[in-house]
């Protein structure tokens, strides 16, 4: 019984101890500054190179939800739910701290959906960004990465057009929407850092740009952001950009998508046809010759013919469509490959495939793998299939 008493005493001590100390990690939900997007820039302030850290923070409406809603509708709806804070510092950590100077709340990183990297920061090296996980315990590996061809600060100043908040909009685009329509790749932290760390492949990231929408001046959106094009890295430094066509080539060369909506426009004479790629697969086959490595890239697409200007849909014309589309895609893919060769960065993963399938050849190839990739001959085979014609009947026969 004495022992029981001692145990009871011990338990009580532990419990009261924990009460005395307070609840260490306790943070009330309303005390959090929920960061939804981060922008990272390198800037020069008074002759000193600094990091600029910009954070978009979710801003809960004050007061009770129900009552607050009414007041909210009177005010300006745009941007009212998010707050933009920025800070500069010699190190990223200092900049991040300075971001929070004016906010009484705890910076909460668990909801960062996208990291936007400014062009200068990207050119000077993104290894810092790869290490961001080590700095914030609540950072999530599924955070999208985008590089802008200006300053991230500007991008984060954009207003949401469709959604309530900017992060939802960019997240929606980055989460495969941009890739599905073939305008930019989809890249989250996990893939990005794996490509940075891996010994055999270079990283890409989508390019995020801003635009002043002209369609509806009344809705008051000064500036919107969207994804278009790809940024190509060599090592951890930005090497250059892929334009729209090259990006499409990259996506088709790498991709493995089932739900794409990529229109390929085919024009010949007065014929105008849209071949809509719905699904594509690509495989890389390293061909190891005598001391020389070359690659064979096979792309296979399945799609439908949507717009048929001046042709009748029949077997002959479909064959023509398939051949023309294959030609066109081959051209696009080759352009992408040429551009990556020009940028000296193997982002499509030719070297990686060699590494994975042929260890022996990789041994020789490895020491100067980027050069070897640049020198390697790459053959592109494209096969296009039309699975649907996009019509039910034969189509209307208009009189001449």
């Amino acid at each position: 019984m004495k022992r029981t008493r001692r145990v009871v005493a011990g338990v009580l001590i532990i419990f009261s101890l924990s009460f005395l100390q307070g609840c260490w990690s306790r943070k009330e939900i309303e005390d959090l500054a929920v960061v939804t997007m981060i922008g990272l820039d390198r800037i020069t302030e008074q002759g000193v190179d600094k990091w600029r850290y910009t954070a978009r923070i979710m801003q809960p409406k004050a007061g009770q939800g129900g009552q607050g809603g009414n007041q909210q509708s009177n005010g300006a709806p745009q941007g009212g739910k998010e707050l933009l804070l920025t800070g500069t510092g010699l190190t990223m950590q200092e900049a991040a701290r300075n971001t929070g100077l004016r906010s009484p709340r705890y910076i909460f990183m668990s909801f960062v959906s996208t990291i936007v990297v400014g062009e200068r920061a990207a050119r000077e090296g993104v290894s810092e960004i790869a290490e961001i996980r080590g700095r914030y315990r609540d950072f999530r590996p599924r955070t999208y990465i985008a590089v802008t061809n200006g300053e991230a600060f500007d991008v984060l100043q954009s207003c949401p057009e469709v959604s309530d908040t900017l992060y939802e909009e960019i997240e929606g685009l980055a989460d495969h929407k941009a890739e599905r329509i073939g305008v930019a790749c989809s890249m989250d932290w996990n893939y990005f850092v794996q490509n940075l760390l891996g010994p055999d492949r270079d990283a890409v990231a989508p390019r995020i740009t801003t635009v002043q929408p002209k369609e509806d001046p009344a809705n008051g959106v000064r500036q919107a952001a969207f994804l278009q094009g790809n940024a190509v890295f060599r090592g951890d430094k930005l090497a250059g950009w892929l334009n729209e066509e090259e990006t499409l080539g990259y996506i088709l060369a790498v991709g493995d998508l089932n739900n794409a909506i990529i229109p390929i426009t085919l024009v010949e004479g007065d014929k105008r046809v849209a071949y809509l790629v719905g699904r594509f697969r690509s495989t890389i086959e390293p061909v190891v010759g005598a001391g020389k490595v070359s690659f064979r890239l096979k792309v296979k697409t399945w799609g439908e013919v949507d717009e048929t200007h001046n042709i009748r849909v029949n077997d002959d014309s479909l064959q023509w469509v398939e051949a023309a589309a294959a030609d066109k895609i081959r051209g696009v893919v080759l352009k992408a490959i040429d551009k990556t060769k020009e940028l000296n960065a193997d982002v499509i993963g030719f070297s990686q495939e060699l590494h994975r399938t042929n260890l022996e050849a990789w041994g020789d190839y490895r020491p100067a793998w980027r050069d070897n990739f640049r020198k390697a001959e790459i053959e592109v085979e494209v096969e296009c299939k039309v699975t649907r014609t996009g019509r039910l009947g034969k189509g209307e026969a208009f009189k001449d």
């Binding site: 609840c23 959090l32 009770q64 939800g65 668990s110």
Partner: protein, 536 residues
């Protein structure tokens, strides 16, 4: 850990067997005498100042007349029946005796017993104390001059509540009768369901000051002898003044001194009792108590309603799973709310986080205080609702639900998210069919809330593990409390979270019905026309 504290409350240090307790006074015998005056005197002394005890002296219609008296507790006996079957018979119908039978002082006892009193429940007793005991149990005592033996006749006649639908365990499908405060009625409702001589009813009297009958019911050959013996042994060990309700008996015969979990199942339903008996369990019915005790109890029985057995198997399974979810909600939801909103905000979807933050931004309290406040309010309302008369109780729930909930949110005392949590918890806790189980859930809920406030989700999990270890260590009359899950007995899982169709319930639960494991034939399943037996 409360044991020490408990000892303090127990008053005298818990010295077992010191024999000084007043509850164990020995009772010697006091034989009746052959002299009627002495007997009358003794009984009058015993029932001195008892205004409800009636003595009636009269003479037996014989030559010479024989003195006799009847005595009974007037409030417990049916005066009409006593007059019809005892008084009238003794005073008038002696004339109808055959001529060769002569009523004398010597033969009176035998003749009265065998030829005159027309009651079926008839005993004799020659001990004054026994006579007294029978009288307080509602029996009538007849003492005839010249014999030292009293005739004890049963003419019960007290008021009883009619059989009603049990309030605590209502059902939509299945029988509507519930137990009442009368042992014999209760036994009758069970006998009507279990029509076999193997249903044994052993009466044990408990209590020193006032003896209360406890009936131990079991089916011989199905119930484990060890358990039956253990039950009887434990009941006989009790030495208390009186057992007012089965709730008292329950705490005396539990396995564990301290636990928040009910180790004995209670029910108001005869059908449930009968079903349990058929599974090999033992039922204890205390006279004057509508709550029957069923032992051994396992944790899962508290999540089962009688109705599950009558509804379609699929539906019953669905309901049981639903109840299990409800159990978890009732136990964990407020704790999870605290843990998530103060420690693990990353778990919430961004939008929900935002709306909770919005809702909470006007609330001055931390989430823990908010939660405790609301849960306590709810418990208050619940208690108030139970104790008040029914129509007032409804007013209380209206005030509580609408006015306090809505007003508290508008006044900014609690957030609307918290109200949702409390309401959901409340609804979930009402789905637990057994009241005692829902009590323990409510107590544990508060402990888990404290743990969640200190350490978040790891605290909750550690708390749950503590509870699990505790549960694993519990036994109810030797049967592990968590069976059939731990220790796992796969064949018994057929009537736990799932309920298989009745034709598939071939065996009884292994742990208490092992003596006669097979309940029914294996080929009892439904037969499609044309397939079975060739009858068409």
């Amino acid at each position: 850990m409360f044991k020490q504290l408990l000892k303090k409350f127990m008053g005298f240090g818990g010295k077992k067997g010191s024999g000084q307790g007043r509850a164990s006074q020995p009772q010697e015998k006091r034989p009746l005498s052959a002299n009627i005056d002495k007997n009358l005197q003794a009984l009058r002394e015993t029932f001195d100042l008892c205004g409800d005890v009636i003595f009636r002296e009269f003479k037996l219609n014989a030559e010479p007349p024989i003195r006799a008296f009847v005595t009974y507790v007037g409030t417990l006996c049916d005066e009409e029946r006593a007059g019809e079957h005892v008084m009238k018979a003794l005073m008038h119908e002696t004339t109808a005796l055959p001529a060769n039978v002569r009523l004398t002082q010597g033969s009176a006892l035998e003749i009265v017993q065998n030829r005159l009193v027309t009651l079926t429940e008839l005993n004799t007793s020659s001990d004054l104390l026994e006579v007294t005991k029978h009288m307080v149990n509602g029996k009538l005592a007849l003492v005839i001059d010249g014999s030292a033996t009293a005739i004890i006749a049963g003419v019960p006649g007290w008021e009883n509540r009619a059989i009603e639908e049990p309030d605590s365990e209502p059902s939509v499908r299945g029988p509507r009768d519930g137990f009442v405060e009368n042992l014999t009625t209760n036994l009758a409702t069970i006998r009507r369901r279990v029509k076999t001589s193997r249903l044994k009813v052993e009466n044990i009297e408990v209590g020193v000051l006032s003896k209360q009958t406890v009936s131990v019911l079991y089916i011989k050959g199905i119930a484990s002898d060890k358990i039956v013996a253990e039950v009887k042994e434990r009941i006989k060990r009790i030495k208390v003044d009186n057992i007012i309700d089965s709730g008292l008996l329950q705490e005396f015969i539990m396995d564990e001194e301290i636990t928040v979990f009910p180790l004995i199942q209670t029910t108001e339903r005869p059908d449930k009792t009968a079903a349990s008996l058929l599974e090999g369990r033992v039922a204890l019915i205390v006279d004057t108590t509508p709550m029957t005790l069923l032992v051994p109890a396992t944790f899962i029985t508290f999540l089962q309603a009688a109705e599950d057995s009558y509804n379609e198997a699929f539906y019953a399974t669905f309901i049981r799973l639903l109840r299990f979810v409800a159990l978890n909600i009732a136990l964990l939801l407020p704790a999870l709310y605290i843990a998530i909103t103060t420690y693990h905000q990353e778990m919430l979807p961004a939008k929900l986080l935002n709306s909770i933050a919005e809702a909470r931004s006007g609330v001055p309290f931390p989430a823990f205080v908010e939660a405790i406040l609301m849960e306590l309010t709810f418990e208050l309302l619940r208690e108030a609702g139970t104790r008040l008369p029914k129509n007032v109780g409804q007013a209380v729930s209206t005030v509580g639900g609408l006015v306090i909930g809505q007003a508290a949110v508008q006044a900014g005392v609690v957030s609307s998210a918290m109200v949702v949590v409390v309401a959901l918890t409340a609804v979930a806790s009402f789905t637990i069919p057994n009241i005692s189980a829902s009590f323990s859930i409510r107590i544990l809920r508060f402990s888990l809330m404290i743990l969640a406030a200190i350490m978040g989700a790891p605290g909750i999990m550690l708390g749950l593990m503590f509870i699990l270890f505790h549960l694993c260590g519990l036994r109810s009359f030797g049967v592990p409390y968590l069976s059939p899950f731990a220790p796992l007995s796969p064949s018994d899982l057929k009537d736990t979270f799932i309920r298989v169709p009745w034709w598939a319930m071939i065996t009884r639960p292994r742990l208490f019905g092992a003596k006669e494991p097979v309940r029914q034939e294996t080929d009892n399943g439904p037969v499609k026309p044309g397939e079975g037996g060739g009858s068409s």
